[in-house]
């Protein structure tokens, strides 16, 4: 840290800014696209028949039960073997998005399922169409069940983007490693990297806990 001022600090800030921005960029992509895809899959699972549901479940299960790092390693080598030419960051991003989407789909399905059948019935007998039922009755209630897990996963994915450093993408962790290779002083760098993650994640986790509390209040 206070090793030598000038070079160290400037490089530090620059690299970390690059790294951090990539991390944030990846996280945002994962959360926005992943939530959308995850929501659609989760919702589909609630209306699909048993057969399709099982098929979707198999895919979701595999993605969630395999270490993210292996999925990233596969994503790294697979395009080469298939002869497709895509950037590592794209391949990695796809994996991360799918990973987040799989988790989301579980949360969404559990959330929708948690709304009792009686609510559906009551809504239906008042004349609401399926879409109206979902929009005004079911989803508002499902949302409250989804929030705790969802925010937990969203927070997790921000941290999980760190794994993409293993296949060479320069995000926060990787940028730290690059600096270490120059300064040969790992300890302070890892401290700083940890600190940066903490600064980003901790407020979000506070917010998510508040949301959780608010979601509990006002419902039975």
């Amino acid at each position: 840290m206070e090793l030598i001022s000038g070079i160290n600090l400037k490089n530090l800030m620059f690299m970390l800014k690059t790294g951090l921005s990539t991390t944030i960029y990846l996280s945002i992509i994962a959360i926005t696209i992943g939530t959308l895809v995850g929501f659609i899959i989760g919702w589909l699972r609630t209306i699909a028949n048993e057969f399709f549901d099982s098929i979707i479940l198999i895919f979701v299960d595999i993605i969630m039960s395999t270490p993210l790092i292996i999925q990233l390693l596969i994503a790294y080598h697979l395009p080469g073997f298939l002869g497709i030419n895509i950037t590592t960051i794209l391949a990695g991003s796809i994996v991360i998005v799918l990973y987040f989407a799989a988790n989301c789909s579980q949360v969404v399905k559990a959330g929708i399922d948690s709304v009792t059948f009686n609510q559906w019935r009551a809504a239906k007998s008042l004349g609401f169409s399926y879409l109206q039922q979902m929009r005004y009755i079911i989803l508002p209630q499902a949302w409250r069940a989804m929030i705790p897990s969802y925010t937990g996963f969203a927070l997790g994915i921000i941290k999980d983007t760190s794994l993409i450093s293993v296949i060479g993408v320069v995000e926060l962790v990787r940028s730290g490693q690059i600096i270490i290779s120059r300064t040969l002083n790992p300890l302070p760098i890892w401290f700083i990297i940890g600190l940066i993650y903490f600064i980003v994640c901790w407020p979000l986790s506070k917010i998510s806990r508040n949301l959780e509390k608010k979601a509990q209040f006002g419902k039975e």
Binding site: N118, Q119, R121, A122, A123, K124, S125, L126, G127, F128, S129, Q132, Y136, I137, P140, Q141, R144, G218, K219, E220
Partner: protein, 243 residues
């Protein structure tokens, strides 16, 4: 009798998978009639109600509403005209009482919101719960919740009200308040079909009575006759057990 025929079930048969839950069910309801449906648990009373407002399909027979076959109406028309109250009220927990009452008329019937609100307030007065306008369902007692459920269905201006054992889940001291609302509606001329265990209430407030057993109509007639001079053995047995 002699009023306009508003509802008719003709030889209705319904199966749940292989369970024959409604057997050649027949019923004629005229406008303004107040019917009590009694019978042991599992006799198909609730199912019959759900078939009337097409929440459940029937396999054979016909249901006529206002002279037309049920299948000739759109689902929307059916739900607008036939209101149903469930045993566990099923209020929407994430909405206030007022929103519970206005949501359906606003979104389904596309009535402008201020009209919905006006009507909601009227209905709240009618069931005696104006002071609960902005409360949430979990803040209500069972009896209050059930009355709100009735108000919610009334907000759609139905022509028939179906009550599915609406007091069975309530503590005894709360039952009266709900029954009063049902009775008042009946007196005002609302065609009502009330599945109930409250025999005393049936005797007091209903015109006709149907005893159902095992999916079949065992006995049917004016309430006085069925409850005081039951002709069917099973009716007698049931009444003895219950009273």
């Amino acid at each position: 009798m002699g009023g306009k025929r508003i509802l008719e079930l003709k030889n209705v048969n319904k199966y749940y998978d292989n369970d024959h839950v409604l057997k050649d069910f027949n019923l004629i309801v005229e406008q303004g009639d107040v019917w009590a449906i009694i019978g042991p648990s599992g006799s198909g009373k609730s199912t019959m109600l759900y078939c009337i407002n097409s929440l459940e399909p029937i396999q054979s027979g016909e249901i006529f509403f206002q002279g037309k076959k049920l299948s000739e109406y759109t689902k929307l028309e059916i739900h607008e005209s036939i209101g149903i109250i469930f045993q566990n009220y099923n209020l929407f927990p994430h909405l206030t009482v007022l929103d519970n009452l206005t949501l359906a008329p606003y979104k389904v019937k596309k009535i402008p919101m201020n009209q919905c609100r006006k009507k909601a307030v009227e209905l709240l007065e009618k069931v005696g719960l104006t002071h609960k306008k902005d409360a949430f369902p979990h803040e209500l007692s069972g009896g209050q919740a059930q009355r709100i459920a009735i108000a919610r269905s009334l907000a759609m201006d139905p022509k028939i009200m179906l009550y599915d054992e609406v007091t069975s889940a309530l503590d005894p001291e709360l039952v009266q308040s709900v029954l009063e609302v049902i009775r008042d509606l009946a007196i005002e001329g609302m065609t009502s079909i009330i599945v109930t265990h409250e025999i005393a209430f049936a005797r007091e407030c209903t015109d006709y009575c149907l005893f159902m057993n095992d999916g079949k109509v065992e006995e049917i007639g004016s309430t006085k006759e069925v409850l005081n001079n039951p002709k069917n053995i099973r009716t007698k047995e049931f009444l003895e057990k219950v009273l």
